[in-house]
């Protein structure tokens, strides 16, 4: 332990926090010896902690990895977490307080606030309100509590763009290890869930061939539009929300009063897929009966509350509670009884004249709330103060805007979905004059100012053991607080649902099936606009559509045909009291009765990156906060909007590219034959690096794409350049979509460089800028490249990327602080591609040589492998028959992409294994 407290990382011109920070004792192997250090911290995903390790070079955070100690990370992260490091260096961040349109100082603000505070204090806080996002942070909750204690008349409201997880004071958690049959009702639990990383890991572990002794699970999904969870389903139905309610009702009857089988009672209601639907529900009912209690019915807040009650009930009846399903008190503060409700309650209060002073802390309700009264109500607030990392739409409408600290530069604490607490440990002193929400809350009531560090320590030193100092270092080192400690320290809150965030679920009558509905969903990449100004997230191809830098109204093929709309056509969506112009995109596997309107775009004050992309669906969303809206009409306008997709073609054209097999299929043995070649074989005397990618495990979550971008200093090129097909990602997720009797089938196939033994690119380079290494890597020598681009033409996998223009950020930009010092930044006119993270390989080899040993298996992780929540990617030494990658490659079914070209790729694939219900054809 002691060694880890050393003044590590203090070199160069860094600005490390004044308080001691504690590096991770057992850093991920990949990181050692690269002059980088790891610090455990936690990222807040919708208020829930995700344990992370942050890599720092010369004191600047450069890369985020998952914390293997953290139960909601298990060493993995997702795209959003990966991209959060870039936001730290965002040049558009707020740097000083703003008074109206003019810059000010914190002193100005404090002077301005002091008389107001005195007045409020005399009224015990009457007329004062604070709006936050729902949080799990014990320190923040403690400060809110302190404020409410001091000013009993003050009010606390909470706002989140889409209420999702725990609006009745309980939360449902699933243990997919113990679930044989999993049914998702419009719940994208592998991606859009605070526990998604853990769920993905556990869910996929049961499906992999290497783990088949447990028997693969089976996933049924009924959802209105294709989600990544739906894409991995063994049987899937595209249903409108009302049809999902029917389905649940039917299921309820099937397990109701001793009825033996699920009678297709409502046959004819959705005639087009009536038979498919009946087969689905019969197979589902049979499976649930056969496998109870090892079943999990996953619901989401988009469901009707009655439906959720039914599912809850079914869990009871099937005995699943305590086996695969666990219900517990909510971790996040949505249902905290101290809060006065959500944004609607706040607007009501403002309109009733009960709020004269409003603090909006790190939330952006002017933009990220349904069309409605908030922006207007805000004008009636006499004094509004906004704290945020950027001067967003809300900041522009407040009297004061205060700059907030990024989580990598201020102390805090958070709890994960399953309850584990973590300390948010900063790596740098605030880059600008910023403070965090807890500090502002103290400033509000005039409590003596404390540093963020002291506040967090104070929270955790209450009721603490005598060994607190040592424990504290331990927690910082490990990134988690042991549960025993946390339960002692975090006070159990009263749970009452009376004053909670109102459930905003469907309130539709079942008869409205014929109506077309607009469903509002968070954007898969930028959420409700939190990621708007992050170019990595903007340029990340969205699942299925592969759109970048834009959102589009998603329509089913039949609907689009009916309206004679094509991709990019701007349509007018007309509801009873509003209309919206939006470009459309046609997607497979969507219910014909729904239009999906992704939120998070159409920003006007997100920053230079995020402004003026896409349309603002919030401005169309119903004012009552519902997530869906009945449409009267969809009109073609005749206008076009240039939508840009990186992956236009979704069929495999009958080619053998991404293989799919059923679990019962006997997988073919790996082909042993190697074809003849004119060139002599290379004989490897040392390591032979290789990779195996398991298509069964890949959920298409895109985390690897961003991890690769962060690790390898990959530039973003902007919408115009992507429209010219010049995106730079070194790894891409190909997806192929087909229709089967079990619903729309999607295969995701991550494609990095294959590192071919007989690399076609090496042969044609006139200057030997791409060469084969003694360890079998296909290396790219940037300095030697003259840019003939012949290598890219000759690459059958098209994984090479070219710097057509100078794609580097302008000199002096703060984003350079994020760059990995171990990877060159590429010049204009130079080819680049996946290197298998050669900098990590070299660091590992050097470390091993220094210790006079060989590299251990698993010691070197590529960035894509390390981030993968489902361990789909395995990298290692092929010359070691016991290495994990060698074992994977010996599994039956292992195949090389385009093996007939005799390129002999080092990267091979395992086929996607599906487990369709036997009642249905494969």
């Amino acid at each position: 332990m002691g060694a880890s407290f050393a003044l590590a990382g203090i070199s160069g011109c860094n600005r490390q926090p004044a308080k001691e920070i504690v590096p991770f004792t057992n850093p991920p192997e990949a990181g050692l010896g690269r002059e980088g250090l790891y610090y455990a911290s936690a990222y807040s995903r919708e208020g829930y902690a995700r344990g992370i390790l942050v890599e720092a070079h010369s004191g600047r955070p450069t890369k985020i990895e998952g914390n293997p100690n953290h139960p909601e990370s298990l060493g993995a992260t997702d795209a959003e977490t990966q991209a959060s490091v870039l936001s730290l260096y965002d040049p558009d961040r707020s740097q000083t307080p703003m008074h109206g349109p003019s810059t000010a100082t914190w002193i100005d603000f404090e002077n301005d606030w002091a008389p107001r505070r005195t007045a409020l204090a005399q009224a015990h806080g009457a007329g004062f309100a604070v709006l936050t996002e729902p949080t799990t942070s014990p320190t923040l909750l403690r400060e809110i509590d302190a404020l409410l204690q001091r000013w009993p008349e003050a009010r606390w409201y909470q706002h989140t763009a889409l209420a999702r997880y725990d609006d009745d004071g309980t939360q449902t958690d699933y243990d997919f290890e113990n679930a044989d049959i999993i049914v998702s009702f419009d719940a994208d639990f592998l991606i859009a869930h605070p526990a998604a990383l853990r769920y993905s890991r556990k869910f996929v572990q049961r499906r992999r061939r290497e783990n088949n002794n447990a028997g693969p699970n089976r996933l049924y999904v009924a959802e209105p539009t294709l989600t990544l969870t739906g894409a991995i389903a063994d049987a899937r139905l595209a249903l409108a929300p009302t049809e999902i309610a029917d389905l649940i009702e039917q299921l309820d009857r099937a397990f109701g009063l001793g009825t033996d089988d699920a009678a297709p009672a409502s046959a004819g209601r959705s005639a087009p897929h009536g038979s498919q639907r009946d087969a689905f529900i019969q197979a589902l009912a049979r499976d649930l009966k056969a496998h109870a209690p090892r079943v999990a019915l996953v619901s989401s807040n988009t469901l009707h509350s009655e439906s959720r009650t039914v599912l809850h009930d079914l869990h009871h009846r099937l005995g699943a509670l305590g086996v695969a399903v666990k219900e517990s008190p909510a971790v996040r503060s949505d249902s905290d009884a101290r809060a006065r409700g959500d944004l609607h309650a706040l607007v009501d209060a403002i309109e009733a004249g009960e709020v004269s002073t409003l603090f909006i802390l790190e939330t952006n309700p002017v933009y990220a709330s349904n069309r409605g009264r908030f922006a207007e109500a805000l004008i009636r607030v006499k004094h509004a103060v906004h704290l945020g990392t950027r001067r967003d739409e809300t900041a522009h409408r407040c009297h004061w805007h205060l700059p907030a600290s990024h989580y990598l530069e201020s102390w805090g604490d958070l709890r994960a979905f399953e309850g584990t607490a973590s300390i948010v440990q900063p790596l740098v002193e605030p880059l600008y004059q910023t403070r965090n929400a807890a500090q502002i809350l103290r400033l509000v009531t005039g409590l003596p100012a404390k540093s963020d560090y002291d506040m967090v320590r104070e929270t955790w030193s209450r009721n603490a053991a005598s060994s607190f100092d040592e424990d504290w270092r331990d927690w910082l080192d490990q990134g988690v607080v042991p549960n025993a400690v946390a339960s002692r320290i975090i006070p159990q809150r009263r749970v009452a649902s009376a004053t909670t965030t109102a459930p905003r679920a469907s309130t539709l009558a079942a008869s409205e099936t014929k109506t077309m509905f607009a469903l509002f969903r968070l954007d898969p990449n930028i959420g409700a606009g939190e990621g708007s100004n992050n170019p990595w997230l903007q340029e990340l191809p969205k699942p299925f559509t592969h759109l970048v830098w834009d959102n589009a109204a998603l329509l089913s093929t039949a609907t689009a045909q009916h309206l004679s709309l094509e991709n990019g056509d701007v349509a007018e969506f007309v509801a009873a009291d509003a209309s919206l112009h939006a470009p459309i995109w046609i997607v497979a596997g969507q219910s014909d009765n729904c239009v999906i309107l992704p939120l998070g775009y159409g920003r006007t004050a997100a920053g230079s990156v995020g402004n003026n992309h896409g349309f603002d669906a919030f401005a169309f969303a119903p004012p009552d906060g519902a997530q869906q809206l009945a449409l009267r009409e969809i009109r073609k306008t005749g206008k076009k909007h240039p939508l840009v997709s990186t992956h236009g073609h979704s069929e495999m054209e009958g080619r053998d590219l991404a293989r799919v097999i059923s679990v019962d299929t006997k997988a073919t043995e790996p082909a042993g034959e190697t074809e003849m070649s004119l060139y002599p074989d290379v004989h490897y005397t040392s390591y032979a690096w290789g990779m195996s990618i398991d298509l069964t495990s890949c959920t298409g979550c895109n985390a690897c794409v961003i991890a690769c971008q962060a690790e390898n200093n990959i530039p973003t090129v902007g919408k115009e350049q992507v429209s010219r097909e010049r995106e730079m990602h070194w790894i891409r997720i190909d997806r192929y979509i087909s229709e089967t009797p079990n619903g729309t089938r999607v295969v995701h196939q991550p494609v990095p460089c294959m590192h071919c033994e007989h690399a076609p690119c090496e042969l044609v380079c006139p200057v030997a800028a791409t060469v084969h290494s003694s360890e079998g890597l296909n290396e790219m020598v940037y300095n030697r490249c003259v840019g003939t681009r012949y290598c890219s033409n000759n690459c059958p996998y098209k994984v090479r990327r070219f710097n057509f223009l100078d794609f580097r950020e302008p000199a002096g930009s703060t984003v350079y602080l994020q760059k990995n010092p171990n990877v060159s930044i590429r010049d204009r006119g130079v080819m680049e591609k996946c290197t298998y993270c050669v900098q990590r390989i070299n660091a590992g080899r050097i470390r091993a040589e220094r210790e006079n040993r060989t590299v251990r298996d698993g010691e070197i992780l590529t960035a894509c492998q390390q981030v993968c929540p489902t361990e789909a990617i395995v990298f290692g030494d092929l010359s070691d028959p016991q290495s994990k990658v060698s074992r994977r490659k010996r599994e039956p079914g292992d195949y090389a992409l385009l093996a007939e070209l005799n390129t002999r790729p080092r990267t091979t694939y395992l086929p996607k294994q599906i487990n369709p219900p036997s009642a249905l054809p494969v």
């Binding site: 236009g648 010219r724 097909e725 200057v767 030697r784 840019g787 012949y790």
Partner: protein, 460 residues
């Protein structure tokens, strides 16, 4: 063919004559040397040169912008990493084939009719190769390092990667350009001496005098000259075949469906000669009418060139057929898909246009009247030029735009800078041609004098 049996009747013009009636040694020399010395039709020249110069300036602008911004100003992308630059390179170098073919191969084959056009076509070859040579340089992402493709002893012990056909290209094209230049210049020597002797101003006498290397028309000079000329013709002959074979290999060596084909080298050579002759016709027909050279470049010449055009056109057609046949016969799904994609895919329009231009249009030349009609020939030649450009476009673009993985398919959209660079090279080409016509004899005088029959019944 042989003209030995051709009766030259002074009074009735012979339709098959390779030299107009009434020509003598003196008239040949006078009429041809008039062009560089007296410079007739200045208005035509100045207007033409101004237009060419304007285009040349467009090229300079396009290149400047290219060097400022990078190759991203063009429409290339991933997967279509080669675009107009390579299409134009192959097209120009193809055009550059006719000259050496005419002057070397036809010389060795004793085709006397080549005499009146060889000088001009050789010049055309040089200028076309100059245009072609620009493109691989501009095409590079980092053109400042072009010399890394040359085998020079550098301090790091690095050599070009000799398995790459791009390196072969460097050798093939530079050798071809050098030999063509030397061949052309050696052929010019006696004529330069003639110009020196006939020039009226001292300045031009000096210039031509220096350029003619002291040629005095000595018998020994002539003996050496003829030997050298023969040797150079022998040297140039294989180069005509090798250059475009190697350009073909740029594609054939790659494993891209639509490129990876053993027929490419001969098919490219045939295409090159085809396009070269088309360009010769395109240029010679207006030239001979503006400068009244119909006595030297006769309808008979045009007809013979038309026949070459037809022959090579059929070779090219066979190449197309063979590509499709091989794709089908190989059973390779990628090749088959490619063939289908060429015919009915997004670039089907370009493909069918090229079939019309390159296969259908020249069939009109079966008719003798059309072969001898300068206007018809001019139009056919123009269309073939367009068709051959389209052929290279189809080969480069349609093969790349949909290869193995459908996930990476794309489309190519040329930008204004692609077009500017292409049109700009016309400026370079035409400007050089105009300068050539103005200052050097466009027809080989010394050789033409040999065509004049000494007396009735003599072999010309």
């Amino acid at each position: 063919m042989s003209s030995s049996d051709t009766e030259i009747a002074r009074d009735t013009p012979d339709p098959n004559a390779l030299l107009g009636p009434g020509e003598t040694w003196t008239s040949v020399t006078e009429n041809i040397s008039r062009l560089p010395l007296d410079r007739p039709h200045p208005r035509f020249w100045w207007l033409g040169f101004a237009a060419a110069f304007a285009l040349l300036m467009l090229l300079m602008l396009a290149i400047s912008w290219l060097f400022i911004k990078g190759v991203g100003i063009w429409g290339i992308n991933i997967p279509i990493a080669w675009g107009f630059a390579i299409v134009n390179f192959v097209w120009w170098i193809g055009i550059g084939h006719a000259g050496t073919f005419i002057s070397a191969i036809l010389f060795l084959l004793h085709q006397k009719w080549r005499t009146s056009i060889n000088r001009f076509t050789e010049a055309m070859t040089l200028f076309a190769v100059a245009c072609a040579g620009l493109f691989p340089l501009l095409h590079m992402g980092r053109p400042q390092y072009f010399y890394w493709l040359l085998p020079y002893p550098d301090t790091m012990g690095l050599w070009p990667q000799f398995r790459s056909p791009l390196v072969w290209d460097v050798f093939a094209v530079s050798t071809y350009a050098t030999v063509s230049l030397v061949f052309w210049y050696v052929g010019l020597l006696p004529d330069l001496a003639t110009l020196r002797d006939r020039a009226t101003s001292v300045g031009w006498q000096r210039v031509y005098g220096i350029m003619s290397f002291g040629w005095r028309g000595d018998a020994r000079h002539w003996r050496h000259y003829e030997k050298v000329y023969l040797v150079l013709a022998g040297l140039a002959t294989p180069l005509v075949l090798s250059v475009h074979s190697i350009v073909g290999m740029d594609f054939a060596i790659a494993q891209v469906p639509g490129w990876h084909s053993t027929i490419f080298p001969p098919y490219f050579v045939a295409g090159a000669i085809y396009s070269g002759f088309a360009m010769v016709l395109t240029l010679v027909i207006p030239l001979r009418s503006v400068y009244s050279l119909k006595h030297y470049i006769t309808d008979r010449h045009l007809e013979l060139m038309a026949k070459v055009l037809m022959t090579t056109g059929w070779m090219v057609a066979y190449g197309y057929f063979s590509e499709f046949f091989t794709a089908w016969y190989s059973g390779d799904e990628f090749e088959r898909f490619l063939s289908l994609n060429r015919v009915i895919g997004p670039y089907a329009g370009e493909f069918w246009a090229l079939v019309c231009c390159n296969i259908l249009t020249p069939q009109i030349l079966w008719v003798r009247r059309c072969r001898r009609s300068p206007l018809v020939l001019f139009c056919v030649a123009l269309i073939v030029n367009v068709g051959m450009w389209l052929e290279r476009f189809v080969i480069v673009i349609t093969s790349l735009h949909r290869d193995f993985l459908p996930s990476s398919w794309g489309m190519y959209h040329p930008t204004i800078w692609d077009w500017s660079t292409y049109l700009g090279t016309f400026g370079l080409f035409l400007a050089l041609l105009f300068l050539f016509i103005r200052f050097l004899p466009a027809i080989a005088m010394a050789e033409m004098r040999n065509m004049v029959p000494r007396k009735k019944g003599d072999s010309p």
